[in-house]
C-alpha cells in the first residue's frame, strides 16, 4: 500500500513540476538548473522596467531592442545541453 501511496505522491509531484515550470527536483542536472536560472533572470529583467532601462542605458540600445534580445536569449541561454551518456 505504501508503494501505491508513493506512486500517487509522485504523480502529484510530476504534475506540480509540469505546472510550475522552473521548479527544481532531486535529479536536476547542473545544466538544467543553470538554464532555469538564466530564463528566470531574463524574464525578470524584461518584467522590471527599471532593470531594462539600466541595461539599455549601459549598452546603448533601445529598450525595445533590449527586451527582444532578452526574450530571444531565453530560448537557449546557456548554450546547447551537454551530451548525454549513452549508458
Amino acid at each position: 500500500q505504501s508503494s501505491e501511496l508513493r506512486y500517487t505522491a509522485n504523480t502529484q509531484l510530476e504534475h506540480l513540476h509540469a505546472r510550475y515550470t522552473g521548479t527544481g527536483h532531486a535529479d536536476l542536472t547542473k545544466y538544467e538548473w543553470l538554464t532555469h536560472q538564466h530564463r528566470d533572470t531574463l524574464s525578470s529583467i524584461v518584467g522590471h522596467p527599471t532593470l531594462l532601462s539600466y541595461l539599455a542605458v549601459a549598452d546603448g540600445q533601445a529598450m525595445g531592442r533590449m527586451k527582444f534580445e532578452m526574450a530571444e536569449r531565453m530560448l537557449q541561454p546557456c548554450g546547447p545541453p551537454p551530451q548525454k551518456d549513452e549508458d
Binding site: S44, G47, P49, L51
Partner: protein, 1213 residues
C-alpha cells in the same frame, strides 16, 4: 534608527501609455504608467498642452496596460497587468477624480515571474475579452460582459497555456463580431533543451499562433499555428470585420508581424505580404545591422486606417494596406518623420500624437498632414516577387530613405522628464540661495542633459519695465463687475498714486477719479460698476459716471490700513479704531454708526471674498500690535463684536482670509483659511470655523527673513495666496490638495493678480522700481529644471573643492567617436565613394548618431559651469576609450595640488566584461579649473570603475582589485593592492583610514589601510549578496546603500569591532583572524531596509533646508528623487507606524499588490515607514480619516499636521 521614506519627485519615465475616453466624456485622455505610478493626462485640444488630472502611487510594478471598451459603450476602462499576480480593471471616476478598482482577479503568485501572467495584455477590439500572458507558457483569457444593471462583469479565467513556449508578444485580432481571436508569437524550447548539437535551437521556429475564444462553448482553442520570421518581435492588430449596415469590410483583419528588417502582413489562410523596413542612407550606417520596430500604433479613421511604426533609431514609418474587402492587395511603407524613440505611441482623434519617450522628455505632436502627397519614396509589397515572400528566408534588398526634419508633425507640448538619472549631487552653488540645489546627469545618448533642479515653481516673465520711482504697492482692477480683463494698474508711491490703463499699450491716465496726490492703501472694484480707493485721508467711491463720493477721516487721524471686498470695506484709523462700511442695494456705501476701538494699533486687516449669492462675509480678521489676531463679526446681528482671539509670537505684518479647497480637510467645498504673516517671517495658517468663528488647526512655516506680505490672487481660476518675504511663495490648490511652494523669481515687494487678453492668468509685481508681469505656467511641477545639453550619456560627475565648476564624464556604447567617424568618412572620400554631406549635417540631438557595432565607444570629459548653465570645455577621448570613473585628487607628493583622475578603458565589451586596456588619466587643472591638461596615462589590466582621493594619494577599484597609487613623473605608481574582491568594485568611500568598498554583486566591504605595513585589509563585510549601485557613509560605522533591484538599506558595523580595528596599528590582528561564512572576520548588521521600486543611482547625506536636519536623499534611474528622514523621537515612530498600519488596510493598492510585500520585495521592510502611503491619508474620505485618527487618539487635523511637519521640516517641499 527608524526612517521615514518620502518621495519628493515621483518617477517620470513612462513604461507604457494608453489612450481612451476614460472619463466617459467626449475628450480623449491618456493614461501613462510610470512603473509604480499611474497618471491620467488630458490634452487641451485648443492649446495643445497636456495637463495632469490625477496621479496615484500603486505600490506595485505595472508591467502592462490596455484600454478597452464594452460594445456600444462610450467609456473606456483600463486593464492593468502587474507583478501582483492579479488582473485589475480600473475605472476613472471623474466625480471624485480618482481611479476605482472595478475588478481584481487573482491568478498566481506575486512577483514578476516567468510563468505568472502580467507581462502582456491583449484585448478584443469589440471589448468582449482580454488575454493576459506571462513571458513563458501561461496565457489566460477572461470574458468581459455587462450584467442587467449594465455593470462590467468578468468571467473566471480560461487557460490557453502552451508549456515550454517563450512568448514574445500577443495581440487581439479584429474579427468584428465573430469569436474573439488572439495572436501570439511563440518559440518552443522543448526540443532545443534536449538537443546537444545545438541544431534544434538554431532551427527553432517562431510560431504565429491564433487562439480562438469560443463564446458558445466557453473555452479557448488553438486555432492555427504557422512559423514566421525567426526574428519577429512585435505584432500589430490590423482592422477587420464587417460593418453591420453595409456588409463592407473595415479591413482585411490579421496582423502585422514586425521582424528584424521586415514587416510582414499575415492572416490565416491568406497570402503574406512583406516589405523591408527602410534604412537611413547615412554614409556611416552599418549595412549588416538589423533594424527592429520598437513601438507601433494603428489609427482608424472613417473608412481608412494606417499604422505608424517606429524603428529603434526613432524613425516613424507610415504603413498602409490596400485592400479590396478582406483581400490585401499591397502593403506599403514610407518614411514619415523622426521623433525620440518611444516606449509607447498614442494617436488622439483630435489630431495629436503622444510620444512617451523611453528616455528623456515626453512630447505631444500635432499632425500637420498624413504624408499622403509627398515625394518620399514608398516601398510596396507588389514590387517584389510573390509580394516579397518568394524566398521568405532571404532578406529583401535594402530600402533607403533620407531622414529630414519634421514635416508631417509639429511639436505641441513637452513634458519634462528626468529619466534616466545616472548621477546626482546636492550642493548649494547658486549665490543668494539658502537651500541646496540638486544637480542631475540625465538622459541617454545625444539627447542627454545636465540639469539643475531647484525647489520652486517656474515663473515666466512677460513684461519688465522700469518705473520713475519706487512704488510700495500695486493693484489692478476691472472697471465693472462683468469685465473679463483688468483695465487699470494702480501704483502707490510714498507721496502719490499713478494710474495706468491697460490697452494695446500701457499708459498713464488722469481722469479716472482716483486721487493722485496721496498714496493708496487699497483699491477695489465695488458693486456692479463702481471703483473704490482708500487713501490715508479718506475713501473715494468713484461711480460709473465719474462722480466721486468721498468719506473723510476726522482731523488729526489717518487711515493706517484697509481691507475690502466687493461689498464691504473696513478701515483702521491711527487712533486704533475700526470703521466698517457696507454697500447697500442701491450701490451706496454706508458707514456703520459705531466705531470699534481696538485698544492697540491695528497692523493688518482682512475680510474674505463675499460668498456667491450672499450680501457679506461674516468675519473680519484684525491683527494688532499687541501680538494678537482677533476675529470680529460683521454679521448685522452682532456687528463688530469680537468672536475669538489668537495670541501670536510676534507682531503681525499681514493677514489674508481666503476660501480654498483642500481635500484633506473638506472634499466638497472650500475651507476658510486665515493666513497670518508675522514680522519675523513666520506664516501661520489657521482654519476659521464658519459656524462659530473659532480659529483651529494652526500650522506654521518659516518663509524668509523679511516681514511677510500676503496677497490674494487667482491661479488657474482658483483662489491662491501669494506670500512675500525674502522669498516669494505661492499657496494654491492643485489636484484638490493644498500646496505651498516658493517661486523661482526675484524677490517681490508687492504683487497682485493681473488679467489681460494676452495673459489672462498673470500676476503683476514690483521689485524695487521695476514693474513685472509674469505667469506661473506649470503648477504642480515643484522642481524647476535648467538644462545643459550634453553630447553623450553622462556617467558620473564630481565637484571641485575650490571652484564652482563640475567635471562630468560621458560615454556611449555602440557609437563612433567624432574623430573615428571623421577618419572613416575621410577614408570613404579618398576612395571616391559618394558621401552624402547633407545627412551628416542633421542635428544629432534629434536623429542620434549612427549605430556602430558592440565594443565601439565615444566618450568625453566636460567641464560645466552650473551657474551660467553651459559647458565651458570638452575633452574628447580618442582611441576608442571610454570614461567610467572620475575623482578630484590632491596628491601629497605634489604639495596637495589638485588633479583630475579619470578612469577609462579602451575597446570595452560589456558581456563578458572585458577591455583591451584600462587607463587612469591624470589631468592638471589649468586656467582656474576651466580647462584640463593631460599629465599622463597609467595602464591598468581591467576597467577602473571607481576612483577616489585617499590621504593625499589615489585609490582605485580596478576590476576585482583595490589599488593605492602615488603620483609619479610619467605614471601613477602602484603602492598597495588587495585583490580579494568578488566581482568588480563599483563604489568607494572613505573616512580616516577606513575605505568602504561597494562590490558589483557582493555587497559592501569595510577595508582599512594600515600605513606602517602598507596594507589594504578587509575586516568586515555584509552577509547578503547585494548588487551595489550607490553608497554613502552616514557616519564612521554606518553606511546607506542602494542596490540594483530598487532597495535602500542601512548597515552598521559594531562599534567594538571598529575600535579594535583602529587600535591595531599594523593590521596583523585582522590578517590572522578567522574568516566567517567564507568572507571577512566581521559582519555588518542590517538596520533599515526598504524597497523603493526604482533602481538607485545615487545616495547622499544632506540637509535640504537651511538649518534643517540631515536626511538621506536618493535618486532613481526612472527619475525618482526621494528622501529618508530619521525620526527624532520614539513617540513619532509609534505614531507614524500605527498610522501606516491603518493606511495599509484602508488604502488597497490599485494593482492589487500588498503594500507590505511590495516594500519588502526582496528582504522584509525594516525600520522604515512608507511616507507615500501615509500621505495618502489626506485623500481618504472624511469618515475614514476620523476613524483612523480616533484609533490614534488624535484629531484629523493633528494627523495631517504631523504629516506636513515631517515633510516640511525635512525637505521644505
Amino acid at each position: 534608527m527608524h526612517l521615514y521614506n518620502l518621495t519628493l519627485q515621483p518617477p517620470t519615465a513612462v513604461a507604457q501609455a494608453i489612450v481612451g475616453n476614460f472619463s466617459g466624456a467626449r475628450t480623449q485622455e491618456i493614461i501613462v504608467s510610470h512603473g509604480t505610478r499611474l497618471e491620467l493626462l488630458r490634452p487641451d485640444v485648443q492649446t495643445g498642452k497636456l495637463s495632469t488630472v490625477i496621479a496615484s502611487d500603486v505600490f506595485g510594478s505595472i508591467r502592462s496596460l490596455a484600454a478597452f471598451r464594452l460594445t456600444g459603450s462610450t467609456k473606456d476602462y483600463a486593464i492593468v497587468g502587474s507583478d501582483s499576480g492579479r488582473i485589475v480593471i480600473l475605472d476613472y471616476d471623474p466625480k471624485t477624480s480618482s481611479f476605482v478598482k472595478l475588478h481584481q482577479e487573482t491568478f498566481g503568485k506575486s512577483g514578476a515571474r516567468r510563468i505568472v501572467p502580467g507581462q502582456y495584455l491583449a484585448t478584443d477590439p469589440k471589448g468582449r475579452s482580454v488575454m493576459i500572458s506571462a513571458m513563458e507558457k501561461a496565457k489566460l483569457v477572461y470574458i468581459l460582459n455587462r450584467d442587467a444593471a449594465a455593470n462590467l462583469t468578468i468571467s473566471s479565467p480560461l487557460e490557453a497555456h502552451k508549456s515550454s513556449a517563450i512568448i514574445h508578444h500577443i495581440v487581439g485580432l479584429d474579427v468584428g463580431f465573430e469569436n474573439p481571436l488572439f495572436a501570439a508569437l511563440e518559440v518552443d524550447y522543448a526540443e532545443a533543451d534536449q538537443d546537444p548539437t545545438g541544431e534544434a535551437a538554431q532551427n527553432a521556429e517562431k510560431m504565429l499562433t491564433y487562439y480562438e475564444l469560443d463564446l458558445g462553448l466557453n473555452h479557448v482553442v488553438r486555432k492555427w499555428s504557422e512559423p514566421t520570421d525567426p526574428r519577429a518581435n512585435l505584432l500589430v492588430q490590423v482592422p477587420g470585420g464587417q460593418v453591420a449596415s453595409s456588409e463592407r469590410f473595415d479591413g482585411p483583419s490579421g496582423v502585422l508581424v514586425c521582424c528584424e528588417d521586415h514587416i510582414i502582413y499575415r492572416h490565416m489562410d491568406k497570402p503574406q505580404h512583406r516589405v523591408p523596413i527602410p534604412r537611413r542612407s547615412h554614409p556611416l550606417e552599418d549595412p549588416k545591422r538589423g533594424v527592429i520596430i520598437v513601438a507601433a500604433v494603428m489609427h482608424k479613421m472613417k473608412g481608412a486606417f494606417f499604422f505608424l511604426l517606429q524603428s529603434e533609431d526613432g524613425d516613424l514609418f507610415k504603413v498602409t494596406i490596400d485592400h479590396d474587402e478582406d483581400e490585401v492587395k499591397s502593403l506599403k511603407i514610407k518614411y514619415f518623420d523622426t521623433v525620440p524613440v518611444a516606449s509607447s505611441l498614442c494617436i488622439l482623434k483630435s489630431g495629436f500624437l503622444f510620444v512617451a519617450s523611453e528616455f528623456g522628455n515626453h512630447y505631444l505632436y500635432q499632425f500637420q498632414k498624413l504624408g499622403d502627397d509627398d515625394d518620399e519614396p514608398e516601398f510596396s509589397s507588389t514590387s517584389f516577387p510573390s509580394f516579397g515572400m518568394a524566398e521568405s528566408f532571404i532578406p529583401l534588398p535594402h530600402a533607403h530613405f533620407r531622414p529630414r526634419g519634421l514635416d508631417n508633425l509639429a511639436l505641441a507640448d513637452e513634458i519634462e522628464s528626468l529619466d534616466p538619472i545616472l548621477d546626482a549631487k546636492v550642493m548649494n552653488i547658486l549665490p543668494n540661495s539658502d537651500t541646496p540645489q540638486i544637480f542631475t546627469a540625465c538622459g541617454r545618448g545625444s539627447r542627454s542633459t545636465f540639469r539643475m533642479l531647484r525647489h520652486g515653481l517656474e515663473v515666466e516673465e512677460s513684461v519688465s519695465s522700469e518705473l520713475p520711482g519706487i512704488p510700495n504697492a500695486v493693484w489692478t482692477t476691472k472697471r465693472t463687475e462683468d469685465d473679463p480683463y483688468d483695465s487699470y494698474i494702480i501704483l502707490s508711491f510714498v507721496n502719490g498714486t499713478l494710474v495706468l490703463s491697460i490697452g494695446e499699450t500701457i499708459e498713464e491716465v488722469q481722469d479716472t477719479g482716483f486721487l493722485s496726490s496721496a498714496p493708496t492703501l487699497a483699491v477695489q472694484q465695488i458693486g456692479s460698476d463702481a471703483l473704490l480707493q482708500v487713501h490715508p485721508q479718506g475713501i473715494r467711491h468713484v461711480l460709473s459716471d465719474r462722480r466721486v463720493n468721498e468719506w473723510r477721516v476726522p482731523q488729526g487721524k489717518t487711515i493706517v490700513c484697509a481691507t475690502t471686498n466687493k461689498r464691504q470695506v473696513v478701515v483702521a484709523l491711527s487712533s486704533a479704531e475700526l470703521v466698517y462700511f457696507e454697500l447697500d442695494l442701491d450701490g451706496q456705501l454706508n458707514e456703520y454708526q459705531d466705531w470699534k476701538a481696538m485698544g492697540s494699533t491695528v497692523l493688518a486687516l482682512s475680510v474674505g471674498e463675499v460668498p456667491e449669492g450672499r450680501q457679506r462675509t461674516p468675519y473680519l480678521a484684525v491683527g494688532c500690535e499687541d501680538q494678537t489676531v482677533r476675529i470680529i463679526s460683521l454679521d448685522p446681528e452682532s456687528t463688530l463684536e469680537t468672536i475669538s482671539l489668537q495670541a501670536l509670537t510676534a507682531p503681525p505684518s499681514a493677514i489674508c482670509i481666503a476660501d480654498m479647497l483642500d481635500a484633506s480637510i473638506n472634499k466638497s467645498q472650500p475651507t476658510m483659511f486665515v493666513n497670518i504673516g508675522l514680522q519675523n517671517g513666520v506664516l501661520l495658517r489657521t482654519v476659521l470655523d464658519p459656524i462659530n468663528g473659532q480659529l483651529t488647526d494652526t500650522r506654521t512655516r518659516f518663509l524668509g527673513t523679511r516681514p511677510i506680505r500676503l496677497v490674494r490672487v487667482t491661479v488657474q481660476k482658483n483662489p491662491g495666496i501669494l506670500a512675500l518675504s525674502s522669498r516669494s511663495w505661492l499657496n494654491y490648490t492643485h489636484q484638490s490638495l493644498m500646496h505651498f511652494t516658493p517661486l523661482i523669481f526675484e524677490n517681490l515687494d508687492y504683487a497682485w493678480s493681473f488679467s489681460a487678453e494676452l495673459s489672462p492668468e498673470g500676476l503683476i509685481g514690483i521689485t524695487g522700481s521695476v514693474l513685472r508681469i509674469f505667469q506661473i505656467p506649470k503648477l504642480g511641477m515643484k522642481l524647476k529644471q535648467d538644462a545643459v545639453p550634453l553630447s553623450y550619456t553622462p556617467r558620473k560627475f564630481v565637484s571641485h573643492p575650490a571652484n564652482q565648476y563640475l567635471y562630468l564624464i560621458q560615454g556611449d556604447h555602440r557609437v563612433m567617436s567624432e574623430s573615428a567617424a571623421e577618419k572613416k568618412l575621410q577614408e570613404m572620400r579618398t576612395k571616391g565613394q559618394k558621401v552624402d554631406e547633407e545627412i551628416l549635417q542633421l542635428p544629432v540631438e534629434v536623429f542620434g548618431r549612427p549605430k556602430a557595432p558592440a565594443g565601439t565607444w565615444a566618450s568625453a570629459i566636460c567641464i560645466i559651469d552650473p551657474i551660467e548653465a553651459r559647458t565651458i570645455h570638452t575633452v574628447e577621448l580618442d582611441n576608442n576609450e571610454s570614461a567610467f570613473s572620475v575623482a578630484v585628487v590632491p596628491f601629497a607628493a605634489r604639495d596637495n595640488e589638485l588633479h583630475l583622475v579619470v578612469g577609462t578603458a579602451a575597446d570595452t565589451l560589456l558581456t563578458p566584461r572585458s577591455c583591451r586596456s584600462g587607463y587612469l588619466r591624470t589631468y592638471r587643472f589649468t586656467d582656474e579649473g576651466r580647462s584640463l591638461e593631460l599629465l599622463h596615462k597609467t595602464e591598468t589590466d581591467d576597467v577602473p570603475l571607481a576612483v577616489m582621493a585617499f590621504q593625499g594619494r589615489l585609490i582605485a577599484g580596478v576590476g576585482k582589485s583595490l589599488r593605492l597609487y602615488e603620483i609619479g613623473k610619467k605614471k601613477l605608481l602602484r603602492k598597495a593592492e588587495n585583490k580579494s574582491f568578488a566581482s568588480a568594485i563599483v563604489t568607494l568611500n572613505t573616512q580616516g583610514s577606513r575605505i568602504i568598498v561597494g562590490d558589483m554583486q557582493e555587497s559592501v566591504h569595510f577595508a582599512a589601510y594600515k600605513a606602517p605595513e602598507n596594507r589594504l585589509l578587509i575586516f568586515a563585510d555584509d552577509m547578503q549578496p547585494r548588487w551595489v549601485t550607490a553608497l554613502t557613509m552616514v557616519d564612521y560605522t554606518t553606511i546607506a546603500v542602494g542596490d540594483r533591484f530598487g532597495n535602500v538599506f542601512i548597515n552598521r558595523l559594531d562599534m567594538r569591532v571598529s575600535d579594535q580595528v583602529d587600535d591595531d596599528p599594523t593590521g596583523a590582528g585582522i590578517l590572522h583572524e578567522k574568516g566567517q561564512l567564507s568572507g571577512a572576520p566581521h559582519k555588518t548588521k542590517l538596520l533599515c531596509h526598504f524597497h523603493v521600486g526604482d533602481l538607485i543611482t545615487s545616495i547622499h547625506k544632506v540637509s535640504l533646508v537651511a538649518g534643517g536636519r540631515e536626511v538621506l536623499l536618493y535618486t532613481g534611474i526612472h527619475g525618482t528623487i526621494g528622501i529618508l528622514v530619521p525620526f527624532v523621537s520614539k513617540e513619532d515612530v509609534d505614531f507614524i507606524s500605527t498610522l501606516e498600519q491603518h493606511m495599509r488596510s484602508e488604502q488597497s493598492s490599485l494593482v492589487g499588490r500588498d503594500q507590505l510585500s511590495w516594500r519588502g520585495y526582496y528582504t522584509p521592510v525594516k525600520a522604515v515607514v512608507d511616507g507615500d502611503l501615509c500621505e495618502a491619508f489626506a485623500r481618504l474620505t472624511g469618515s475614514k480619516q476620523s476613524a483612523i485618527a480616533g484609533e490614534l487618539d488624535r484629531t484629523v487635523g493633528e494627523v495631517l499636521k504631523k504629516l506636513e511637519q515631517l515633510r516640511v521640516t525635512s525637505s521644505g517641499f
